[in-house]
Amino acid sequence: MRTVIGPTLIIVISFIGIGCASSGPPVTPVQLADTEATIRSAESAGAFERAPDLLQKSRQALGAAQQASGKGDHRVARERLLEATTQAEAARARAQAEQKKSEASTVHQQADELEAKVKLLQKQLQAP
């Protein structure tokens, strides 16, 4: 009988824990600060110009997270904070990608110009 009571107790306690954790812990100020830092990092990377939609979504998600956290809806707050962070990372990635694309385009253009010059000179050289 004792062998049946023990596991049952553990399962009950576990269910109670899970039930309590369903709302989960609240987002910490550190987590919020980390997310904000990520957003600023994206902004610094040029997301204002290169990824404004993603940046906007990120800020909206952050606001929603803060709002949910204020309401005590910690699960939603955590979810929205995670979304905000991921979107900020996406915005930063896009800004960086755009910058690199621009850089690649510039270098490509420079290489093209050089190539054109080389071809012109070679043509001149081939001319008698």
Partner: protein
């Protein structure tokens, strides 16, 4: 009016009924997530940003399944948003990586083209340099050619000028030579003329001298002839009056002692005085002859006596000559005694010859 309201309300009701009965569409978030995952795949995010892409794909899978299960939009929103965000993150990471690769590639290309450009520029510069050098060489060649031509012209001109100068010089020299030759000729002619004149003068002088000499010679010959003649005449005249002989010292007239003088007597015999006076006359006719009157004796008797006698006899002759107008300064007397015999004193004939008075005719020096 009322009918229209009813018909509109009826239409709206119908639409709402159809909408309520139809299956609800997926939420926009899920649609966006699906689109995003497609974009990410297109960007090769599944290979370049595998972990993020997989996470996005997993979230989308959960959202899709959840949506398919009960079409509960609120249940899929977080998963859909996460799927979209991660998909975009993966997409942009992949695009950034691709851009990085492009940048590297383009940079490589740029570097290659830069090198090629530098090479081409170098070749162009070299070519230009060569062309420039060629042009410079051509220009230099032309310049040198010009210079050579100019130099040749200059040399030709110089040569011509030199030639002309040489010709002028030659002409001048010829003229000079001609002048000189003329002058020399003139000088020579003058000299020759002078020489000739001199020669002529000399010849004239010589001939004059010769003439004079000849004349003198003639005169001498004449005088000699005259002298010889007068001498011959004198000798001839004297020979008729006394004994005459010629010796180196002159014509000697001998008056024999025994004819003209008595023994041991100094005076001339009176009979012989006329004869002696004739001789004196003859001798007076030749005033250019000095008369040495010398008395000699034989060896008989003392020497002193003989000397005295001989001198006295010479004086006696001189006296007669003085009477015969013979100048006293022409005459000299001397007594030799027996010192100069002309014959042997041992015989009477010899003694008779030694006793004598000799008159030596010596031409007087002019």
């Amino acid at each position: 009016m009322q009918n229209r309201i009813w018909s509109t309300s009826g239409l709206l009701w119908g639409v709402l009924t159809i909408a309520a009965c139809a299956t609800p569409g997926p939420p926009q978030e899920l649609v966006d997530a699906r689109l995003a995952i497609q974009d990410a795949k297109s960007a090769n995010a599944d290979k370049r940003a595998t972990r993020t892409y997989d996470s996005a794909a997993a979230n989308l899978d959960v959202a899709n399944k959840s949506w398919e299960k009960d079409h509960d939009a609120s249940a899929v929103l977080h998963q859909a948003r996460m799927a979209e965000a991660e998909a975009r993150k993966a997409q942009y990471a992949a695009e950034a990586e691709a851009a990085d690769e492009a940048i590297r590639r383009e940079n490589d290309r740029k570097t290659r083209h830069e090198i090629a450009l530098r090479d081409a520029e170098l070749m162009v510069l070299r070519k230009k340099g060569q062309e420039g050098e060629l042009e410079r060489m051509k220009a230099l060649g032309k310049e040198q050619e010009k210079e050579h031509e100019q130099a040749a012209l200059d040399a030709q001109e110089k040569l011509a000028a030199e030639h002309a100068r040489a010709e002028n010089e030659a002409a001048r020299l010829r003229k000079e030579n001609e002048k000189l030759a003329l002058a020399a000729e003139e000088t020579r002619a003058e000299r020759e003329a002078a020489r000739l004149r001199e020669e002529q003068d000399k010849l004239a002088a010589l001939s004059a001298e010769q003439a004079r000499a000849e004349q003198a010679e003639h005169e001498l010959a004449r005088l000699r002839a005259e002298h010889d003649k007068s001498r011959a005449e004198l000798i001839s005249t004297l020979s008729r009056l006394a004994k005459v002989r010629e010796e180196a010292r002159g014509v000697i007239v001998t008056l024999p002692g025994n004819i003209y003088f008595n023994v041991n007597k100094a005076n001339v015999k009176p009979a012989m005085q006329t004869q002696l006076t004739k001789i004196a006359k003859t001798l007076a006719a030749v005033p250019d002859q000095k008369l040495l009157i010398e008395g000699h004796t034989d060896s008989d008797g003392p020497n002193e006596y003989n000397l005295s006698l001989s001198e006295s006899r010479a004086e006696s002759v001189q006296k007669i000559f003085l009477d015969g107008e013979i100048a006293a300064e022409r005459m000299e007397i001397k007594g030799y005694g027996e010192s100069k015999p002309i014959a042997d004193n041992s015989t009477p004939a010899g003694k008779a010859q030694n006793r004598r008075v000799e008159i030596v005719l010596v031409p007087m020096k002019q």
